[in-house]
């Protein structure tokens, strides 16, 4: 049931924003930039939501996620990206030391060494649980390229996982 005074879109946006923010943080490596990215993403989804042509969005969550990644990557590709505060030069991932947890800082450090497309693959494959072929289609790259980028990202993450992952029962 819809909460009082809330539109269908608002309800969707409130429900989906936390997840989008996590993905956005993996892409940007900074909470403030991630917020800006999510806000722009939801604004785009809002416009599409209001349009009647094409009917309803079949899977709003997937649509928003795709919009998020594409917005991030296209901002990176644009030479002039002054409107987008999260569009820093590639490879610049700035954790907010004051707000971040230790793990966040460590992951952000790993992300800083990855290309934007590698981070997109990481977010889609392991946070969104998308298949290799889905990620390839979404990013417009081959499945082989997705696997290569995944491998590169995992190689960087592996030491972190070894240090932070404590098996249950141990």
């Amino acid at each position: 049931m819809r909460r009082k005074g809330m539109t269908e879109f608002e309800e969707f946006a409130h429900a989906r924003a936390p997840h989008l923010l996590r993905s956005a943080w993996l892409l940007c490596g900074d909470a403030h930039q991630a917020e800006d990215l999510v806000q722009e993403t939801l604004a785009k989804v809002y416009v599409r939501w209001q349009r009647r042509l094409g009917g309803r969005i079949d899977n709003p969550a997937a649509y928003a996620q795709t919009t998020l990644v594409r917005t991030f990557l296209s901002a990176r590709r644009r030479k002039s990206s002054r409107e987008l505060p999260y569009a820093e030069p590639p490879d610049v991932v700035r954790p907010d030391p004051a707000a971040a947890t230790d793990l966040q800082l460590q992951v952000a450090e790993v992300l800083a060494g990855l290309a934007p497309a590698d981070r997109a693959v990481l977010a889609l494959r392991y946070l969104e649980d998308r298949s290799v072929s889905e990620v390839a289609g979404l990013l417009g790259i081959s499945e082989g390229a997705v696997r290569n980028r995944s491998m590169r990202a995992l190689d960087r993450l592996r030491p972190l996982l070894t240090h932070t992952h404590t098996p249950r029962g141990s």
Binding site: A17, L21, R22, V38, A43, Q50, L127, L161
Partner: protein, 253 residues
């Protein structure tokens, strides 16, 4: 290291991230601004269409043989020549229910009047507005008389290959506009059942990434007598028809 472990690691690293209280409100404000900008573009597009079309008419005045002539685009997109047959390529009988708003952003009954606004022209005949909701993917059209010749616009769902359906028409070209948009143009003469070459119609088909095709056509004659041109050239040229087909009003934005 399994995929699950990686997923868990990323979940833990981002678990305490919380959207700010005004994130959604800000997104909606931004979305509304974007939407208004889109609507502004619609109005500008309509004005541009009117300007272009008006220019065309001024440069190519008609012969004064006006009347309640209408032309309806054939949406089948697969015939060798353009046709005046105002039916979709379907064996299902056409349905016309004025009470139904139809599946498209512009309601069936508003097709001709919307076209008239874009043309700054007079809507002389609305009886030929048609829509066929039972046809595959739906189809509807509106037409009007302009200076003794017919202009029409129609649209339908089209999720198949872009442009393929129109390549069978004469003088057809198809351009990939990028981002999922395509524009096909065609020009064809209508041959009557008596074998006499009749009026000529030209048209453009604008494909959107949302799976719609918007078709705008112009003729050098009327539907009531397809064997006798009322003017040398179709009443609008391809550029003017392109402006009409690409107008965002048909896309509901």
């Amino acid at each position: 290291m399994t995929e699950t472990q990686v997923g868990e690691l990323l979940e833990r690293a981002t678990a305490d991230l919380r959207p700010s209280a005004d994130l959604v409100a800000g997104a909606i404000t931004d979305g509304r601004r974007r939407r208004r900008r889109g609507l502004g573009f619609t109005a500008a597009g309509a004005l541009a269409a009117a300007a272009v079309v008006s220019g065309t008419v001024v440069l190519a005045p008609g012969n004064g043989a006006g009347g309640d002539h209408t032309l309806v685009a054939d949406p089948s997109g697969s015939t060798g020549t353009s046709s005046y047959a105002a039916q979709p390529s379907s064996s299902t009988p056409a349905q016309a229910d004025p009470a139904n708003d139809g599946p498209f952003p512009v309601a069936p009954g508003a097709m001709a009047s919307t076209l008239a606004i874009l043309l700054h022209g007079k809507e002389t005949n609305t009886s030929n507005d048609q829509y066929h909701l039972s046809a595959p993917d739906g189809w509807q059209s509106g037409a009007l008389d302009l200076d003794g010749a017919s202009v029409s616009v129609s649209y339908q769902h089209s999720t198949g290959p872009r442009c393929d359906g129109d390549l069978g028409r004469g003088d057809t070209s198809c351009t990939d506009l990028g981002n999922g948009y395509f524009l096909a143009t065609y020009s064809a003469e209508v041959t009557t059942v008596h074998g006499k070459t009749g009026v000529r119609d030209i048209g453009v088909t604008y494909y959107t990434p949302d799976g719609y095709k918007i078709n705008a056509t112009a003729s050098n004659g009327s539907r009531t007598d397809p064997t006798t041109p009322t003017r040398t050239d179709p009443v609008l040229d391809l550029d003017a028809l392109t402006v009409i087909a690409e107008n965002p009003v048909w896309q509901g934005s």
